[in-house]
């Protein structure tokens, strides 16, 4: 018997299943559900109507009770499959419910009211995607405004990050000058000063510069990232100096060398930094929360957190907005994940 199971579960290598193989596959499959499940569940929920969201136990797909307009009644009525006294079943619309008795009518014969015990009726359900969860926030919450603010902050901050950090990396990798080590150490030291440590005085500085309640107040403090300088400098160090010297022979200015030789050659590293920067800035939360207090300036993250913290959370809107907020990051994940993972494995920086 054990021979048979051994044969059945034999692996490619010819060896049997070791306990580590079982652990591996259990871990991976559980991991698949735990890592993707929550986001998938959120997305599925975002298509449900408020009534369906309040249901317990919940359904996986968005179902609603089918409604029907019956002559003589103003509002559409819920449809039920009711078991009648004689044992037959019929599709009836509920007019009102009194205690445990439901008064129902046949949509085809609206005049006659049938009384059915509520235990003997089942709602007729149909699948329906509540796309209004996605369309209504545009009018309800200034959603377009938040979206635009987030896009503006992300794009602007990323562009400035690329320019400013590549310039610094160029200076730190291709020039010999006094204080170079000091400048490197200074940039290194800023790794030790995260936002949570300096947020109080940083807020006063940003206010003094008139950048409180201003998207630039969100952008500027984040653009000089030590990580960016590192990634780019490491890469530029591999560009041979002879190339620069040859360009200098041809009377190229230093600015031209930076712009026409160094930048194109650093493109792969710039791409990695750009991806990182987009994800960082899109996801930023604490600093925008501090700097932006006017509703029309909220980024998506701030808007979402404020509305989800309200007393009467309109979950159907929040869920849809969360899905929209996830979209760019999911796209990055689908198409650029490989760059990021090699970037992290190479530098150990996030």
């Amino acid at each position: 018997m054990s021979r048979v199971t051994e044969f059945l579960f034999r692996r490619k290598g010819g060896k049997g299943w070791h306990w580590t193989d079982i652990v591996t596959w259990v871990w991976l499959v559980v991991g698949l559900f735990v890592m993707f499940g929550p986001a998938v569940w959120l997305t599925a929920s975002s298509f449900k109507s408020p009534a369906a969201l309040a249901e317990f136990p919940p359904t996986i797909l968005p179902y609603v009770t089918q409604k029907v307009t019956v002559e003589g009644y103003d509002k559409p009525l819920d449809l039920y499959t009711a078991t009648l006294e004689d044992g037959s079943t019929a599709t009836l619309a509920e007019v009102r419910r009194i205690g445990t008795v439901s008064q129902m009518v046949d949509p085809k014969k609206p005049a006659e009211i049938v009384k059915v015990n509520i235990a003997k009726r089942m709602p007729v359900r149909q699948m329906s995607f509540a796309t209004e969860n996605y369309t209504e926030p545009f009018t309800h919450f200034d959603f377009v405004r938040y979206l635009w603010n987030s896009v503006f902050v992300t794009v602007t901050a990323t562009l400035i990050t690329l320019v400013v950090n590549s310039m610094a990396a160029f200076a730190l990798s291709k020039y010999e000058f006094r204080g170079r080590t000091f400048a490197m150490l200074l940039i290194l030291a800023t790794l030790m000063v995260p936002l949570s440590v300096i947020m109080v005085p940083l807020y006063s500085i940003v206010s003094a510069l008139g950048l409180f309640n201003n998207l630039w107040g969100v952008i500027l403090p984040t653009v000089a990232t030590p990580t960016g300088v590192f990634i780019l400098r490491q890469y530029m160090l591999t560009i041979p100096d002879e190339l620069l010297d040859a360009a200098r022979m041809d009377k190229a200015s230093e600015w031209q060398i930076y712009w026409r030789i160094i930048l194109p050659l650093t493109a792969p590293a710039l791409a990695v930094l750009a991806i990182f920067s987009v994800v960082w800035r899109w996801n930023d939360f604490l600093w925008p929360l501090i700097v932006l207090s006017r509703k029309e300036l909220y980024t998506l993250q701030v808007g979402l957190s404020i509305y989800s913290g309200e007393l009467n959370v309109q979950w159907h809107f929040i869920l849809a907005m969360t899905v929209v907020t996830m979209i760019p990051v999911v796209l990055v994940f689908l198409f650029l994940q490989r760059f990021i993972t090699t970037g992290i494995a190479g530098t150990g920086l996030k």
């Binding site: 000063v193 109080v200 206010s207 712009w259 979950w315 992290i344």
Partner: protein, 344 residues
């Protein structure tokens, strides 16, 4: 067909070129004054020019606040600008440390601060231990000879990219009364439970959710470390018929240790500053059961009715001290790791 594709690629190129024209022009315009700078100040001047924007931003938004923070922590009142604030010396620190019994936060003048410190301490211990365990196991598994390895690696990496707000909302939605977790337990006959209204469960949720969100990142770093271990060691062990557990404790773990230490400190540094996803998930509640230090600083400095920036600055300096120690540890560790690597 080839003709068409060439044509389209040509129009694509010319479109790209047109888009680049203003950039080219701008770069050309910048070039003229820079040539003058170069002539006047030489290469050193150009180096300074290239470094300037970065240093300026670093200076204004990182270094300056860093130094102001010390001055800030020695002033009182609610005024925003340092010049309007009154000097109080070490009063803010004295207030933070004003406790009759350091083991009981309730006896402190700033009881919420010590509650936050206590919570953060517990959080760090639990989260770092579990995070390392989970990431290490996942990395070991991903390091095996797997089918579709890059797919599985991506699976565990996915939540790393999600924003803390999205992470918080996803889990808030799952842990709520009609949520997925209660649905799953309902299948086993349990009654629905409002997890985030329960002090202990809410705390456990913050630990679990932060691990869920970040484990993929550390798994990657550990995986890189695992892949750097020479393969011939494993081949030799296999020849000798060494058991898997023994291979792990005698080869993998010792050789991974330098890497693992760096990761541990990295996790520690992040855990001490935990804020975003917890703030969205629990808001520090119920009560103060998931209030952490960064949230205390944020609320004391910005959100509270009676905001006290001086007190917040003092608390942030205390947290900064812890972080500096941890970062120096990390730098020391990664330097010794790199040296060891170089020696091989």
């Amino acid at each position: 067909m080839a003709e068409i594709s060439r044509q389209t690629s040509q129009t694509g190129q010319s479109l790209g070129e047109t888009a680049m024209v203003p950039v080219r022009l701008a770069m050309g315009v910048i070039d003229a004054p820079l040539r003058w700078v170069q002539k006047k100040f030489g290469l050193g001047g150009m180096a300074a020019f290239f470094l300037l924007p970065n240093m300026l931003i670093f200076g204004i938004f990182v270094l300056l606040p860093f130094f102001i923070n010390f001055a800030y922590s020695m002033t009182g009142g609610t005024a925003l600008f340092l010049s309007d604030r009154t000097f109080v010396g070490a009063d803010q620190y004295a207030r933070l440390f004003d406790c009759s019994n350091y083991l009981n936060p309730n006896t402190c003048a700033e009881d919420t601060f010590w509650t936050a410190v206590g919570n953060t301490g517990w959080f760090v211990v639990l989260q770092v231990t579990l995070m390392i365990a989970v990431s290490l196991i996942t990395a070991l598994i991903l390091n095996r000879n797997l089918m579709a390895r890059s797919f599985w690696r991506a699976v565990f990496f996915f939540p790393v990219l999600l924003s803390p707000v999205v992470v918080g909302l996803i889990w808030k939605w799952i842990l709520q009364r009609q949520g997925l977790l209660n649905f799953g337990l309902y299948g086993f006959g349990f009654d629905p439970h409002v997890w985030l209204n329960d002090r202990n469960w809410a705390f456990a949720a913050t630990v679990g959710v932060s691990i869920w969100a970040h484990m993929g990142f550390y798994t990657l770093i550990i995986l890189a470390g695992l892949q750097a271990i020479p393969k011939d060691l494993y081949e030799a062990a296999e020849m000798d018929g060494t058991r898997a557990m023994r291979v792990f404790t005698r080869i993998t773990l010792p050789l991974l240790m330098p890497n693992l230490l760096v990761v541990i400190v990295l996790v520690l540094i992040r855990a001490v500053q935990i804020f975003d996803e917890v703030y969205v998930l629990t808001g520090g509640g119920p009560g103060t059961s998931t209030l952490f230090v960064t949230q205390y600083i944020y609320e004391t400095g910005f959100a509270a009715q009676l905001r006290n920036p001086g007190l917040a600055a003092a608390a942030s300096i205390l947290m900064g001290l812890v972080l500096v120690v941890l970062t120096l540890m990390q730098l020391g560790l990664s330097r010794s790791r790199d040296k060891k690597g170089a020696r091989k």
